[in-house]
């Protein structure tokens, strides 16, 4: 397998090309979470690209912030769930790569629709409960935006997971500090998120370098050591929105817009083709 950094670079290339090709989509959060997806799918998670909806005896991943579908689709294709050529159909008519992830078109790798925010943690808990009922030792991973935590359903789920000792769940928050209308501390301040998860009864891991793929692997591996210890596990992952493309990095401005031809060229010049373009 190529080095994780090379995989991440190619996924970033795919993201900007897909969003440019569709002339729409969400590059900012996708680029910020690329190292997480790379670490999860190419190192940490036990999963089978011969897709099976029931995920029997394999780990499950649930994406709650569905708008970062470009990074999800590129990761799944690069991991062997479907042909990378299909990435060119992103957001186009009759595609399985819908604007937001869906099971409706039967894209391998997707187990739940997301896009309307705040629902993924509940789904991940349900999948984790099924693992327990079926006597499996497998793990459920979920990813959430930080702005998404404004949605109250998350806090219902966070309360539930601790109360019911859902200790086979590792939920990661992409803490990039940005949401559509601006910085999270202006729109709706999360204050001390770690203290909140802690007060709700979760094991909390802080990951300061969410755009260092080795650091992400280390945090996820550390999280796995807490599985089965009676508490759900949260990773608060600091990332930069738009990481890897200098003019997109660190701003909410690139949450949901596509680069033009000139911007695409500028972005690709920073992201060498490591595994071959789709």
């Amino acid at each position: 397998m190529p080095p994780l950094k090379d995989i991440a670079t190619q996924i970033r290339r795919d993201i900007v090309r897909m969003v440019h090709g569709a002339a729409s989509g969400h590059p900012g959060g996708s680029l910020g979470c690329t190292d997480y997806f790379t670490a999860l799918y190419f190192k940490v998670m036990h999963h089978n690209p011969q897709f099976n909806m029931d995920a029997t005896n394999e780990d499950v991943f649930v994406l709650s912030n569905g708008h970062i579908s470009p990074v999800y689709y590129s990761t799944l294709a690069r991991a062997g769930y479907f042909d990378i050529k299909e990435l060119a159909t992103f957001r186009k008519l009759d595609s399985r790569l819908q604007g937001h992830p869906a099971t409706h078109e039967h894209l391998p790798g997707i187990r739940i629709a997301s896009g309307s925010l705040g629902q993924g943690m509940s789904v991940a808990i349900g999948a984790a409960l099924t693992k327990k009922l079926n006597g499996e030792k497998t793990v459920v991973y979920s990813l959430h935006g930080d702005g998404e935590l404004d949605e109250g359903q998350n806090w219902e789920a966070i309360m539930f997971a601790a109360h019911h000792k859902v200790d086979n769940l590792i939920s990661t928050v992409d803490w990039n500090g940005q949401q559509i209308d601006g910085p999270t501390n202006k729109v709706m301040n999360l204050l001390d998120l770690g203290a909140k998860f802690d007060a709700f009864g979760w094991e909390v891991i802080r990951l300061e370098k969410g755009n260092d793929v080795d650091a992400v692997v280390a945090a996820l591996e550390k999280a796995k050591t807490f599985v089965g210890k009676g508490k759900p596990i949260a990773i608060l992952m600091t990332t930069a929105m738009g990481a890897g493309v200098d003019f997109m990095q660190g701003s909410h401005e690139w949450h949901g817009i596509a680069p033009n031809d000139e911007q695409l060229a500028k972005a690709l010049a920073q992201l060498p083709e490591t595994l071959g373009d789709y």
């Binding site: 995920a55 099971t103 739940i112 629902q119 509940s122 789904v123 999948a127 984790a128 009922l133 499996e136």
Partner: protein, 317 residues
């Protein structure tokens, strides 16, 4: 004759659900019951006693409950969510839409205390829009059984039926007049055949339709009383067969006449065989506190209104 249909007893439909889910769980180890702090009201006591490990208490957090149910299906569980109809639908519409219906998950949304017959709690809890909301969702099956036996039958049947289901039942003690074995998802139940007027009803109102039918038969009117317990998929064939003979219809439901059973009947008629229809249901209004009997009278859902509607619609032919 309709007067030969006599109740074999009286029970609440929610007890039919409670007895049904316990029996279904004995047969199928994948059934899981969830509740949002209403296990007692939904009569889950027996289920919890026999299968404590398959019971999930969510607290007063319905949105989370629906999401957890969707997740439970990954790996083959058959989750039944339980709370009042209002909190089963309007409160969690988007969760049902995205995580259950659009995602094609095998979740059974089981909703008690629907309609006016909830009674004294008043309009905050008397949902009259839920059938409409649920039937609009692509892929959603909507079932409104009429008595204890039929609710039990439906609770058992949906375990073996792949896909999301909305099962609507209620609070009051109500006559039992059907047999468990007579229920088939999607197949209308004919109580009487006739040529003058068709009465299509669902839920508690089926008994009221039978009462009205008795009066109409005594007046010499040839009436068809048909229970449309499955609102979706709709038994178009049964409705067409009936109105082809009678050429007019009354629809009866404990629901807003906008969006409910009446609309489904009217759509079939408009497409295939335009006929006059009279609608019995609430007329674009909220309910209020009162006893079930008082409320059905005040909102025009009681037996005499059905009789009057039948006589009126026959004159419009």
């Amino acid at each position: 004759m309709l007067k030969e249909i006599q109740p074999t007893g009286q029970k609440d439909t929610r007890s039919g659900f409670g007895d049904g889910i316990a029996e279904a769980a004995r047969k199928n180890p994948n059934i899981v019951a969830l509740t949002a702090d209403l296990a007692g009201s939904l009569k889950l006591n027996q289920f919890i006693k026999e299968f404590p490990e398959r019971f999930v208490q969510c607290g007063i957090a319905e949105a989370n409950m629906i999401g957890i149910a969707a997740g439970l299906t990954i790996g083959g569980k058959i989750p039944y969510t339980t709370t009042f109809a209002n909190f089963s639908t309007g409160r969690v519409y988007d969760q049902i839409r995205q995580s259950v219906a659009y995602s094609g998950k095998n979740v059974k949304i089981c909703a008690s205390h629907a309609g006016l017959t909830l009674g004294e709690d008043g309009a905050t809890h008397q949902i009259l829009e839920d059938i409409g909301m649920m039937k609009m969702l692509p892929g959603m099956t909507v079932i409104v059984p009429c008595d204890y036996n039929q609710t039990k039958a439906a609770t058992l049947a949906i375990a073996d039926y792949q896909g999301p289901v909305y099962l609507r039942f209620g609070r009051p003690v109500w006559p039992i007049f059907t047999k468990v074995e007579d229920f088939v998802i999607g197949k209308a139940q004919v109580f009487s055949e006739g040529t003058d007027v068709s009465i299509f009803a669902c839920g508690h109102m089926v008994w009221k339709a039978i009462e009205a039918g008795v009066i109409l038969q005594e007046k010499g009117i040839s009436v068809e009383v048909i229970n449309i317990h499955t609102i979706k998929p709709f038994d178009t064939e049964a409705v067409l067969k009936s109105i082809t003979k009678t050429r007019c219809a009354v629809t009866v439901e404990e629901h807003n006449i906008i969006g409910g059973l009446g609309d489904s009947v009217a759509q079939v008629a408009a497409r295939h065989l335009p006929i006059p229809i009279e609608y019995i249901g609430t007329n674009d209004t909220f309910g209020e506190s009162g006893t079930p009997t008082q409320l059905l009278k005040k909102y025009g859902l009681d037996t005499p209104y059905i009789v009057a509607a039948a006589e009126k619609v026959m004159k419009r032919k």
